[in-house]
């Protein structure tokens, strides 16, 4: 026994510590890229690194960042939720529909304004429950189910709004999207707090770790005594709830609910998550990585705007950036993306 042990120990140390270091560094893979962007941004325009510009970047990305957080949870358990972007529109849309007084657009004015926030969140939960029913209870493919939900939910919003925009939202709906806490917009605080909570939950709670176990190998997770279905239910419903919150912030900031609110967000969300190191095959990636992913995308956009790139070209550049970022994370991550 002793001779085998010495054999193993003497061979192990050097490569072992390097492997551990690599495993930890994967989390910080985007930090160098963010630093490079910061330097480039400062060269392009001295405005870039000023506090108010950075807060501005954080505020514009806060709603979509919360979606990234939600999608990250779902991706880690090896599912997908495309319908999040429609929830962003429908949840506040239903609240506005019921609370906006008659005469202003398609509002029904059935409930007092104070109900708008609870309704928004409740709609998010209901959508999550429907998704979970289809995916977990009936065992349908999550991609197709949520693709169907994306179309249905968008259609419902168009239906109740008559394709128009809800204005004159109740004050309680505007609060989170407009108010300032300690000199920073509330939505920025919320976004940062949620990510901090996400990092803690995923990294330091049994519940969070069970997400990785399920995404990595659901059979092994079951064998370890994890109640996989219950965890999946919680994840899918939470994701929808977060999407409703994101919609609330967005409506508050814009003081309206357009029938196309959230349309097309899901592509940016997926791009940010994957750039941030979340695997589409589940069980891999961290909340911090996801945050750096969405931060990098929005910093680059900000630099482009400051550099005076015409707005018409931003879309093309965005797509290019996503591809380049993916290629970079492939090079730094070392492994092929499946």
């Amino acid at each position: 026994m002793t001779d085998t042990q010495t054999a193993v120990t003497t061979a192990a140390p050097a490569p072992t510590s390097r492997k551990i270091a690599i495993a930890r560094l994967r989390d910080l893979a985007l930090i160098p890229a963010i630093i490079v962007i910061a330097i480039v941004g400062q060269l392009v325009s001295p405005v870039f690194l000023r506090g108010d510009n950075l807060v501005n970047v954080l505020q514009t990305m806060s709603e979509i960042a919360i979606l990234v957080l939600a999608q990250t949870l779902v991706l880690i358990v090896k599912k997908m939720d495309l319908s999040l972007e429609s929830t962003v529109g429908l949840a506040p849309g239903v609240a506005a529909w019921l609370t906006v007084p008659v005469g202003a657009g398609h509002g029904l004015g059935l409930l007092p304004g104070g109900w708008s926030v609870p309704i928004t969140l409740a709609v998010g939960v209901v959508i999550g429950v429907i998704n979970a029913l289809f995916i977990i209870r009936f065992g349908l493919n999550g991609f197709i189910v949520t693709l169907g939900m994306l179309i249905v939910l968008r259609g419902i919003l168009t239906g109740i709004s008559g394709g128009q925009t809800f204005f004159r939202l109740p004050a309680s709906m505007l609060y989170l999207g407009t108010t300032q806490w300690l000199g920073m917009p509330a939505s920025v605080w919320l976004c940062l707090i949620l990510f901090a909570a996400g990092i803690v939950v995923l990294g330091f709670t049994s519940f969070g770790r069970s997400l990785y176990a399920i995404g990595g190998n659901v059979d092994a997770a079951k064998a370890a005594g994890i109640r996989t279905d219950r965890v999946l239910w919680i994840v899918i419903v939470t994701a929808s709830l977060l999407a409703a919150l994101s919609g609330l912030l967005l409506s508050g900031r814009l003081a309206s609910v357009a029938s196309a609110q959230g349309n097309g967000y899901i592509f940016t969300v997926f791009a940010a998550a994957v750039i941030g190191g979340i695997s589409l095959n589940g069980g891999k990636g961290t909340m911090f990585g996801a945050f750096t992913g969405i931060l990098l995308l929005f910093l680059i956009q900000n630099v482009l705007t400051l550099a005076g790139v015409p707005a018409q070209w931003i879309g093309a550049l965005n797509g290019t950036i996503i591809l380049i970022a993916l290629a970079l994370s492939r090079v730094t991550g070392g492994k092929a993306q499946e």
Binding site: M1, K19, A213, N217
Partner: protein, 501 residues
């Protein structure tokens, strides 16, 4: 040791899946501190017994006791985990998580704040591994471990639940000789500390090396349990193969002595699969490649069919040298191929019999890449007739056929281009007896008409019709047996044992 009740005892266990009987009135008794071997050929019921013993499935009949007490309910996973653990060939480790987390998955240590205290988890993991002398850094992602380390970690995890009875399912299959030696010394060490092992292996040599007692299963039944010391190897092999049908050879004609070779493999090697393989197949000859699942025989057959390219050596088929590693080239050279697993490589389940059967001959179905439906269905009807495929018509999806008929479609496709060399891997796996006879009869017919045939299989029935059988073990051709071999001899060679008579 005599006084203590057996660690585990199963009696009268029967398990059926539909009409198949996977275990029939089987029994096994494993005493405290033993290392007990469980051997048997494929389909003998070993894996069913393991899933019954580990509480993954309930037996239809029979009882299981642990240390004299009845087994816990199936849903009480914790109770099962305290009694028994199985280290499978397929890993149950989560590669993205660290070793420490894998050891304490879903039972992490929480600090005062209610959050996981990673430091405690790591410390406890390190203590656990130290207790059982497993030298692995607990901070490593488990995916970085090699097979050997992973097995040790899984064993340590099992022990940490309190289980002192561990099933090792072919633990040596993926290990090299040095690692096997280390594993064995570890097993001996743990045995001394009171751990009982059930050791499942295809390598009888290993059974003799480390086991005390051996139990043999055959055809879903318990055949024999004996102390390893007092059991001659020949008797063990005989118990595994059974006494019936010892002489081989049907009344088939022998191939012409000087027929031209249709296959010449010379000094071929593929690292990790096989090395130094040279053999010839003459026209009209049937040659068997026998060997266990990981022996390399499948890789050799796949090389001939163009699925793999050999690293060195040459391959000549019917006088031409097809580009190595190219299936189209092999097809053009005249190879017909029945792949290893029909579900994975044999057919497209949703496509019709006609489409599946003609996949290899698109150029004969019409001009310029277009497919003439009538011509295709003509081919298909021809196949259905020749191979007696039971179907209402050629348009039925293959998924609607029985296993035997599905295999016939795969065979039909292999025969579609009138091959000069037919390569078959496990051609009768999972088909019923009548389809099996039919398929093997067809193979003889093809050989009779002048094609060479290679059958890579571990089924004795498949190999019986071969003119000669090459036995592959550990990637090398270790023996050649002309027709008329003795079952015991062939099986012994396949399992890598020397019979001492």
């Amino acid at each position: 040791m005599v006084a203590a009740p057996p660690v585990v005892e199963a009696t009268g266990v029967t398990k059926r899946y539909g009409s198949t009987v996977a275990l029939h009135d089987a029994a096994i008794t494993i005493e405290q501190g033993q290392t007990h071997a469980l051997v048997g050929r494929n389909g003998a019921g070993k894996s069913t017994l393991v899933s019954v013993l580990t509480g993954l499935q309930a037996p239809d009949e029979g009882t299981i006791t642990f240390g004299g007490e009845p087994a816990p309910r199936l849903t009480d996973r914790d109770a099962w985990r305290q009694r028994v653990a199985c280290v499978y060939q397929k890993s149950t480790i989560l590669p993205e998580l660290t070793v420490a987390e894998n050891l304490f998955l879903n039972r992490h240590d929480h600090g005062r704040s209610g959050l996981i205290s990673w430091r405690t988890v790591r410390t406890k993991a390190r203590e656990l591994l130290d207790t059982w002398s497993v030298d692995v850094d607990v901070r490593l992602p488990a995916g970085e471990l090699d097979v050997e380390q992973r097995q040790f970690v899984e064993i340590a995890r099992a022990l940490s639940f309190g289980a002192r009875f561990i099933i090792l399912d072919e633990p040596t299959a993926q290990l090299d000789a040095a690692a096997i030696a280390r594993l064995f010394s570890r097993i001996t060490e743990l045995q001394r500390q009171g751990v009982t092992f059930l050791f499942i292996s295809h390598h009888l040599q290993e059974v003799y090396e480390i086991c005390d007692v051996v139990t043999v299963f055959r055809d879903a039944r318990h055949v024999l349990t004996a102390a390893v010391d007092s059991l001659p190897r020949a008797d063990l092999v005989a118990a595994m193969t059974g006494e019936a049908a010892t002489e081989t050879g049907t009344g088939r004609r022998t191939p012409a002595e000087h027929a031209a070779p249709v296959l010449e493999m010379t000094d071929a090697a593929l690292p990790g699969a096989y090395e130094d393989v040279s053999f010839q197949v003459r026209a009209g000859e049937i040659v068997g490649l026998a060997g266990a699942a990981s022996s390399g025989r499948i890789e050799i057959a796949e090389t001939i069919a163009g699925l793999r390219a050999p690293a060195t050596g040459s391959l000549e088929i019917a006088g031409t040298r097809p580009r190595p590693g190219s299936v189209p080239a092999a097809l053009r050279a005249g190879v017909g191929f029945v792949p290893q697993d029909r579900h994975h490589q044999g057919y497209v389940a949703q496509m019709s019999i006609a489409d599946n059967g003609t996949l290899t001959i698109p150029d004969r179905l019409g001009r310029a890449g277009f497919i003439d439906g009538r011509r295709r269905d003509g081919f298909a009807r021809d196949m259905i007739g020749k191979l007696a495929i039971k179907t209402p018509g050629p348009e039925l999806p293959v998924s609607g056929l029985s296993g035997g008929n599905q295999q016939k479609v795969v065979m039909a496709r292999a025969l579609a281009n009138n091959p000069k060399l037919l390569v078959l891997i496990n051609p009768t796996a999972g088909v019923d007896v009548r389809s099996k006879e039919f398929l093997l009869g067809k193979v003889e017919e093809v050989a009779e008409s002048g094609a060479g045939v290679v059958i890579a299989s571990d089924e004795l029935d498949d190999l019986r019709l071969c003119d000669r059988v090459l036995v592959v073990f550990g990637g090398r051709v270790v023996a050649e047996m002309p027709r008329g071999w003795h079952d015991h001899r062939l099986v012994a060679a396949m399992e890598g044992v020397e019979l001492d008579d």
